[in-house]
Assembly symmetry: C2
Homo-oligomer: 338 residues x 2
């Protein structure tokens, strides 16, 4: 898929693919036959049925999970919102390409292929306290690049990001989408505290004030306050839905990007899981707003799809149990007495 405008995207969000209830039912019919007390694998059992429904097949597959890490730069860093300089975005992209970052180790550990998509790093988005982060053409381009990154034959995609300054952008996006206090959405990011954090909160509040009258839905908010990597994540999520590829959303920033879709079209994230509860302030509140229960809670706040890689391993394990375990009949194990 690709889009030509925000209005085109709004229209396309009206025709999202639905889950395959027949595949889900076949999974649910197999599960109680497996040699374990019913329900004893907890969320692993739910995952097997959920993946079947969104892949549109039973048995579900998890041989080829894939991760997309999108990178972007942010004009807002001129306001001093990050503990690291902007060039770190490009340096970390080199690290991903060299295989030396956390997400490389994590995806290698679990046999997940990894792709890094750097989005015009030399041209940061506009400073959203002064102008729109992206114009409509910039939004459309980033969205389409995100959509194009999804391998149609992946069994699942994890989406993550790298972008110095993007917790500021994500916090502003959440404030625009859900309201509340700027301070409730604004956290330490890479590690700001004290006066620097107070400044970050006021930047978030100022940015949202400036654009509020021009924001009618999540997509407007994403264009005004987001960044290319956040927009690309939404492109990957929508493309994955249409390609029957379930999605693993990483942490705070990825969830914030995804929330722009959900607030525009309820149910747009039904084919998505959230990997983990990030330690970044605002994520728990965002998870409640999205009504998503993350798979993991390991006090992580790195981004770069690190949580998505770990959570994808859990899904892989769930699918292997569902597909590989023997039934009571096959194993000659006595079933429950009552």
């Amino acid at each position: 898929m690709s889009i030509t405008s925000l209005e085109d995207l709004r229209n396309q969000l009206g025709t999202l693919r639905e889950p395959d209830e027949s595949a889900r039912k076949r999974a649910e019919a197999r599960e109680p036959q497996l040699t374990k007390p019913p329900g004893s694998l907890g969320r692993l059992e739910e995952l097997a049925a959920w993946v079947s429904a969104w892949q549109g097949q039973h048995p579900p597959q998890m041989d080829s999970p894939h991760i997309c890490v999108f990178a972007g730069n942010h004009g807002i860093v001129a306001k001093g919102v990050s503990a690291y300089p902007q060039e770190v975005t490009q340096q970390m992209v080199h690290g991903f390409e060299a295989g030396s970052a956390a997400v490389n180790q994590l995806s290698q550990t679990f046999g997940i292929t990894l792709q890094v998509i750097a989005l015009d790093l030399a041209t940061p988005t506009g400073d959203f306290t002064e102008t729109s982060a992206l114009d409509e053409a910039g939004f459309v381009d980033a969205f389409n690049r995100g959509a194009a990154a999804v391998p149609g034959d992946a069994d699942m995609i994890g989406v993550g990001e790298m972008g110095i300054g993007n917790t500021t952008s994500a916090a502003a996006l959440c404030l625009a989408l859900y309201g509340g206090d700027a301070a409730a959405w604004t956290g330490a990011g890479t590690g700001v505290a004290g006066a620097a954090l107070a400044k970050k909160v006021s930047v978030v509040a100022d940015g949202v004030s400036r654009h509020r009258s021009n924001i009618s839905d999540g997509l407007d908010a994403l264009q005004k306050l987001g960044g290319r990597e956040l927009v690309a994540i939404t492109g990957a999520i929508v493309q994955a839905r249409q390609s029957r590829v379930p999605v693993m959303i990483d942490g705070f920033i990825s969830s914030a990007a995804a929330a722009a879709l959900e607030t525009t079209r309820a149910g747009a994230l039904d084919h998505c899981l959230v990997a983990h509860a990030s330690a970044e302030k605002g994520h728990n509140l965002l998870l409640k707003s999205l009504k998503k229960q993350p798979l993991l809670d390991l006090n992580m706040r790195l981004g770069e799809a690190s949580g998505a890689a770990l959570a994808t391993a859990i899904v892989k394990a769930a699918i292997n149990c569902h597909n590989g375990m023997a039934t009571f009949a096959e194993a000659g194990v006595s079933d429950k007495e009552n």
Copy 2:
């Protein structure tokens, strides 16, 4: 190691190996040099230091994790406490050996070797409402078989169990160790409810009443109320400590067995993690008593080291990050500005 009596074990618990603080410090010195904001990998960073300390080496290793599943049968099943017949213990052992159970799929998924140790399944322990579950010789034998199962070259061992009736035994053990209401420790196990669950609660209360005056510490309680697989788990845990092998404790039953050590000698579980918060009633209370925060919470309650396998994958990922990531200097990434 091996023991000749409970008294011998009490003595040996006085000479447990201590962690290697030098290895821990080397891990803690490397961590902030890696290309990520300090602390951003959360518990993964703690795990790298913790494994280093308990393995007594830096870099830590996680190439050869191993799982021991101990199986035993319980006289208490004569009281109708389980939803499944006793022969299921042996049938599931065949399943583990054939590779068709959940723990087989999970350990294969993550490259964990698996060993199943069936402990005299044809001779269930005594019904603890009428007699002691094990005599001292039976305790010593099960303990030593648990200790002997630990491969000295494993990087970590996960301990789990299979035994129809053993949630009843574990609940009684917890009640004896920590007090409170029998109902607070007694859950559905493989799936009992209503009158059957009420009966199970009264069996637990009766068993503890019967033996209370003969229980002076956790080891006494384990002998009177436990089962061979629970005792073997304690043997594996103590042997692992002396062999510098960190331990991953599975769920409710494994934690209850482990608690018999901790209540006898505080700190005996310092080289152990708890894999997950089991959905079995009593586990959360037990985790609080043990002051252990589990790595996962996936609403599982299967036992057979299924949670330990998943959590070991998280540890493997943590170690791969710690060892495999580049430092800021190696990667040419700019460090924090302040």
